[in-house]
């Protein structure tokens, strides 16, 4: 008898709860446009936030309900934009894929370290006290803040220098904002000729601290008639909006600051 009462009480409680849940599910349910789910399923689902929305679900809702542009998903790229376009019947604007590049070539072999650093292994923290002892004040400190910010692990620290693997890059540009020395730029993936230096020091000063830094000799800019490479604050700067195909210019650089790197899928840096 006692057993029966106990079973009834516990079972009854369960039934009542189940009933409440069932009723709640019916009356409190949120109706969602099925297209939102469809678009959401197309998105990568990594919630990187690059599109400017709180996550993939949020972005999907905005595409369907508020007509947000469909090509904002950087990780998905044009491929996914095309799929979304097909799914909800919108034309896709075409843009070239952007990849990140670190404009510094000064790894531990090229930059002599004269000063020890004893502090947090974080770039912005080190920058607040003037850097981590690498003598170049403009170059990569190699403390990997960008690598930690990368959602897909596309940045490698090799001999104290950050290097982006363009084939893995998803164009989210998170690393760009993390770098306290503003060394990382987003460029169209087809551009292959880079000046891998950001130092605005004069040539002799650069030479003192780095064997691969731009010494502002202007040879490269002259070689291309300032078309695509120009001098700015003691530094040769590539204008990535102009296609630059003459690879002969690379050999002109006495410091080997210029380098050819191809950014397509499947090519390693």
């Amino acid at each position: 008898m006692e057993l029966l009462i106990q079973t009834l009480i516990i079972g009854g409680t369960g039934l009542v709860c189940a009933a409440i849940l069932a009723v709640a599910a019916r009356f409190l349910s949120v109706h969602e446009d099925p297209r939102v789910e469809a678009v959401g399923n197309l998105l990568p689902g990594i919630n990187c936030g690059t599109c400017g929305f709180a996550g993939c679900g949020e972005y999907a809702r905005d595409i369907v309900l508020h007509g947000a542009p469909i090509n904002l998903c950087k990780p998905g790229g044009s491929e996914i934009a095309a799929k979304i376009g097909a799914s909800i019947g919108v034309q896709v604007p075409t843009d070239e894929r952007q990849v990140a590049i670190v404009l510094c070539k000064g790894d531990d072999g090229a930059v002599k370290r004269g000063v020890d650093y004893n502090g947090l292994l974080d770039c912005s923290a080190a920058q607040q006290i003037g850097g981590n002892g690498k003598p170049c004040r403009y170059g990569c400190m190699g403390l990997a803040s960008c690598a930690r910010s990368c959602p897909v692990g596309a940045i490698e620290i090799r001999k104290g220098l950050a290097i982006v693997h363009p084939d893995l890059c998803i164009s989210c540009a998170k690393c760009v904002s993390v770098c306290p020395r503003k060394l990382i730029r987003m460029i169209p993936e087809s551009r292959s000729i880079h000046v891998l230096c950001s130092s605005m020091d004069r040539g002799p000063d650069v030479r003192k601290v780095c064997s691969v830094g731009c010494i502002a000799c202007t040879l490269c800019a002259k070689a291309v008639n300032n078309q695509g490479i120009s001098m700015k604050n003691n530094l040769a700067v590539v204008d990535y909006s102009v296609p630059l195909s003459d690879e002969g210019v690379i050999a002109k650089c006495p410091q080997h600051t210029l380098e050819k790197r191809v950014g397509g899928k499947g090519v390693c840096a």
């Binding site: 004269g114 947090l120 912005s124 923290a125 607040q128 006290i129 003037g130 850097g131 605005m200 004069r202």
Partner: protein, 456 residues
């Protein structure tokens, strides 16, 4: 005039080894003008000054090198006569790159022709006195370098009724302010009189730590027959007693509200060195181009209190003080608690450089940090009443929202927490990073709110 014991004791604080004995009894020694000087244009808080000279110009001592580039900014003057070698971005004593004017001294050290006799400042209106302070390029010489004229002109509705002269000098090793109080107590009195005239403050406090009895008696002598309501406050020796907000509390028991300025509680704090610089600027029309700096530490040949021109490189200062001794490890601009470790000694000193500290490798402990063990010593040491241990953990985890809720922005970066931490956590570095990130988030939030407002 009266001398008071410590009125109120601010919370927290630590008692590091003070090491002041190697220089406190040494009179100030004037250093000859070196060959090259590196004058930074961002010595003060606020906008870096705009250069008014260019490469190749010939300047004389006291001639402006750069003009204020905004309301919170300052004049920068040539510390000696010579030729401008360059105006470019160089390493400064803050550890960062900044605009620097390099002067090659001609050795004659000519000054501007004397324009007027010592000013009869007692007859001048306050406004004009402030103009003279501005023209003299006077900034807070205690360390922060806040342009003095800005502090002297409170906005409408703010009244400054309490003037506090800061002679606490709570940083270990440093004795520059101590020597000023002993050797130039009369000048400090004149500075106080000028400030008194400008502000019309009803109360004046001169705060000195109780480990400096000689300075206290020198000040007592100088202020014996001072007319206004003035008290020499002997505060308890502890670090950071000389921090602005803590000193105001020690004297008035008022707390500067979070994010506010001393003028919000009607107070103004000036360092003793600044008081003497004001006298030079107002009475002698002499701009601020030199200061007393304590060169000390166990890796310096001959510790000294040096009167040196701004822009004197650390290399020259060290050479003047007997060179490097033993196996040096760190060169620090300022004191050991809040000073900046330098990566090079070819950097010019600033108007705010109160000390140059050379520590031997044996003196510096290089630590690797451990997880927090929750001992709570940082909590007891924090003068701001923060929980440094939890702040550091949250900032490490990039949990900046929680860091903001734990009032990371009220951290004064005094380093008392890191001094005490047995796990050797880089607490100050965490705080600095946290503050920067919290401010950045705040700006982003405001920008977003602004956009939304525009859209609607």
């Amino acid at each position: 005039m009266i001398t008071l014991g410590a009125l109120f004791n601010p919370r927290g604080g630590i008692h590091p080894a003070y090491h002041k004995d190697s220089t406190e009894s040494l009179p100030v020694e004037a250093m000859p003008v070196p060959k090259s000087l590196y004058v930074a244009l961002n010595q003060h808080l606020g906008a870096p000054s705009k250069p008014v000279v260019k490469k190749g110009d010939v300047v004389v001592r006291g001639q402006p090198l750069a003009e204020p580039a905004g309301y919170v900014s300052s004049w920068v003057h040539a510390p000696t006569s010579g030729v401008i070698r360059s105006v470019e971005s160089r390493l400064t004593a803050s550890g960062q790159l900044g605009p620097v004017v390099e002067i090659e001294a001609d050795g004659r050290d000519e000054g501007l022709p004397c324009t007027s006799a010592p000013a009869e400042w007692r007859n001048l209106p306050a406004r004009e006195l402030v103009e003279m302070v501005l023209a003299g390029g006077v900034i807070g010489m205690g360390g922060a370098g806040f342009p003095t004229q800005v502090k002297l002109l409170p906005p409408q509705g703010k009244v400054i009724h309490t003037l506090i002269i800061n002679g606490a000098e709570c940083e270990p090793y440093l004795t520059a302010d101590y020597r000023i109080m002993i050797e130039q107590s009369e000048k400090i009195r004149q500075g106080v009189e000028i400030l008194h005239r400008i502000l019309n403050a009803t109360k004046v406090f001169i705060a000195v730590e109780d480990n400096k009895p000689a300075a206290i008696s020198a000040l007592e002598k100088a202020f014996r027959d001072f007319a206004g309501e003035l008290a020499i406050v002997v505060v308890k020796t502890k670090y950071p007693q000389g921090a602005e907000k803590q000193l105001i509390y020690s004297c008035t028991r008022r707390e500067v509200p979070s994010g506010g300025l001393p003028m919000d509680v009607g107070a103004l704090v000036e360092n003793v060195g600044t008081a003497t610089a004001i006298v030079d600027a107002v009475v002698a029309h002499r701009p601020l181009v030199e200061r007393i700096v304590t060169v000390t530490g166990d890796a310096i040949g001959q510790p000294k209190n040096v009167l040196a021109r701004t822009g004197t490189s650390f290399r020259d200062l060290i050479a003047f003080c007997g060179g490097i001794r033993g196996n040096p490890g760190k060169v620090i601009c300022g004191g050991p608690m809040m000073g900046v470790a330098q990566s090079s000694i070819d950097v010019g000193m600033n108007k705010t450089t109160s000390g140059l500290l050379l520590l031997s490798r044996a003196q510096i402990q290089q630590y690797s940090s451990m997880p927090c063990i929750g001992c709570g010593r940082c909590v007891q040491a924090c003068p701001s009443g923060l929980l440094p241990c939890f702040l550091s953990e949250n900032i490490e985890a990039e949990n900046y929202g929680e860091a903001e809720a734990l009032n990371v922005l009220d951290c004064i970066e005094c380093g008392a927490c890191a001094f005490e931490c047995p796990a050797h956590r880089p607490l100050v570095q965490h705080m600095r990073m946290g503050k920067a990130k919290v401010l950045q988030r705040r700006r982003q939030r405001e920008a977003k709110a602004g956009q939304k407002e525009k859209a609607s």
